[in-house]
Amino acid sequence: MIRKIQKWLNSLMNRVSSGIKRPVIPLISVTIFLLAALFLPLQSKASESKRLTVALTGKYPPFSFYDPNGELAGFDVDVSRGVARELGQELEIVTTEWDGILAGLLAGKFDAIIGSMAITTERQKQVDFSIPYYVSGAQLFVNAENDEQIGSIDDLAGRRVGVVLGETFEHYLTETHPEIETVTYKSTVDIYQEMLNGRLVGFVTDRLVGGYQIKSAGMPFRPAGKLLYREQMGIPVAHGHPELLAQINRALTHLEKSGSMADLNRKWFGPAASDTVAIHSFAMSNRTITIRLLQGFGVTIGIAFISLLCGFLLAVPAGVVLNSKPSPLLLLVRTTVDFVRGTPVLIQLFFIYFGAPQIGLTLSPLTSAVITLSINGAAYMAEVVRSGLMAVPPGQKLAAKALGLSNFKVFRFVVWPQAFRIAIPALVNSAVALLKDTALVSVISVAEVLRQAQSIISVTYNPMKYYFIVALMFFVFTYPLMKFAGRWEKTLKKRGFADD
């Protein structure tokens, strides 16, 4: 049954991608897809047999990145394929943000992480690591064009040094070099930008990755000093899966012995290979970029639309309750609304995405996103509905009652139509806010437009351009909405609403 639904969803998604030429169809399809996703039985991916689900970021070239065709490629991707082949299992790769990747593993979203994760005692408390599959180390890089004579990390006391949030380098720097100001970033792309802007004097990253990225991005950075320390990269699995761990270890050993690992090393880090990849990484075609941005925006609009709909349907009864006389129900709704409005959406999102598995619900990223945004939107819109209802003069209700209308009909035909019209401008503002909030769900690896842009940027190294395009896409949608809200307010005044 699950398989059938997945197959149906896949074909839907294919239609979504092929429908890009006809812009209306993808939107409808995405909406249907999202609706379907909401009501799908919840199933842990990791529990399926004969299929190995691994996670990596897809933003860590040359270990994982998107090639010009938009396909995942890199050393870690090849190792994943090798391991799956050795295990005789079908491979599924999930891309997710680095700072949530361990939480995802613990929540059972995937079986293993093959994403260049260093083996540390800290991490070993949470997960079991395989034997190391490669060795690298932390390296300080500085601006090559800088006149300063920076020989090593010891020359940087009091200076700003960048690291990617959640990587072991951050921990290392703050622990062993407290004299340095350690600054964290989402990705190396941001760090490069900050280096060029002169806000950072250096950054610490993996020796192999740094060397590769600097070269392929044509950045004027050079390594300074020796390796800060060595790191062994392993494949973590959640505690309590000794069989899987043993299988992975066997697979790695076999890949090593058969010479496949050496081939991969040559392919990605040998002198010839590195140049080839460098050319590729700059050559993501405009067509691929356009398709991915449009697909991403389709998902964005779909999420926003469904969340808005669900949120509104929740907001109407909630708003009515908020406008009622004191009761336990009012207290409950009031507290809930205040709590949701008074806490960051991002935390709510994490709470639902990472928290739900702990009570036995494994929600897909998309479902988590829609649920979070629906609840959040509902809380804000409930307040809007409440103030809309309050703005209807009490005399309107009285006049309707004087005509003999029942309480329900008074609400249905007299109070609600006026409250709704009064609330429209504020509701549109809520819709605009909700649309913008969808950008947050990129952190739980929903392939909406911001996440698509980020992965494009990880290949093209052009954050300004693509963030601007994404901003523009949002604006094209939100601007007419805001204009409409403004016009409507004028119409309301002309029609004499909420005048007593």
Binding site: P393, G395, Q396, L398, A399, A400, K401, A402, L403, G404, L405, S406, K409, F413, V414, P417, Q418, R421, K494, R495, G496, F497, D499, D500
Partner: protein, 241 residues
């Protein structure tokens, strides 16, 4: 006939507004308009609110054609007694026509076509037949007043209560309203709460004077108005001193 017996009303803060009010308002073909007058704060609006069953008196009893008002169902009561508020409260999101047909269609279950036809007839009768498709905000004060009266009349109430109907009208529209109300005699009787003496003189057949929550007199318009005018003059002198 509306019969009020020993009606008392006290607001939650303890202010007694109506003190043992007893009244018999009877109407006939010739005399279908009674005015209830009094200075502001006299309790006349509270009396209207009780007559309209928006306020429930603690003591006393109101009978509509011999039946106790408090024993009637909401539907029974509303079919007998209509109200036109000082602020009119036309529904701003509905056209004039829809303002009129809302109750017949959704309360008495009248067919929409029939309700529309009757609404147009009555709009014609009160002189705003050409405004059927306008929205309330597009109407003048006098037109809005007529629409509000038409909306109440369409339900054919036996008694129609009007609260300060001239407060927003100029002298010409006030005169026109007086003429209109006089022409509407027959099936509906009007009870007008107001302090507009010239209007009462023009329109009413009988009048009631209320002072400090008590009925002072219930008589012909002329005698009641004389008393009321004296009262007004005295009050002015007190203010002037």
């Amino acid at each position: 006939m509306i019969k009020v017996n020993d009606l008392e009303f006290t607001y939650p803060d303890g202010t007694a507004v109506l003190k043992k009010v007893s009244l018999e308002l009877s109407f006939d073909q010739e005399e279908h308009i009674t005015a209830i007058v009094g200075r502001s704060g006299s309790g006349k609006t509270t009396l209207l609110q009780c007559l309209a069953r928006f306020l429930m008196p603690k003591h006393g009893r109101i009978e509509i054609d011999g039946v106790a008002a408090h024993s009637m169902t909401e539907a029974q009561f509303r079919s007998k007694v209509g109200v036109v508020f000082q602020n009119l409260y036309l529904f701003p999101h509905l056209t004039v026509l829809d303002n009129l047909t809302l109750a017949p269609v959704h309360v008495t279950g009248m067919a929409e076509k029939l309700a529309e036809q009757k609404a147009r007839e009555i709009l014609e009768r009160v002189g705003v037949g050409d405004q059927a498709d306008s929205y309330p905000a597009q109407l003048s004060g006098g037109q809005a007043q007529r629409v509000a009266i038409a909306r109440a009349l369409l339900l054919k109430p036996d008694f129609l209560l009007l609260d300060e109907p001239t407060s927003a009208l100029d002298i010409n529209t006030t005169n026109a309203l007086a003429k209109l109300l006089q022409s509407l005699g027959g099936s509906t009787n009007f009870i007008i709460v107001t302090h507009d003496i010239p209007f009462v003189r023009k329109v009413a057949h009988r009048a009631v004077l209320i002072r400090d929550g008590r009925v002072v007199t219930h008589d012909t318009v002329e005698s009641v108005m004389e008393l009321f005018q004296q009262e007004e003059k005295q009050a002015e002198q007190v203010n002037a001193q």
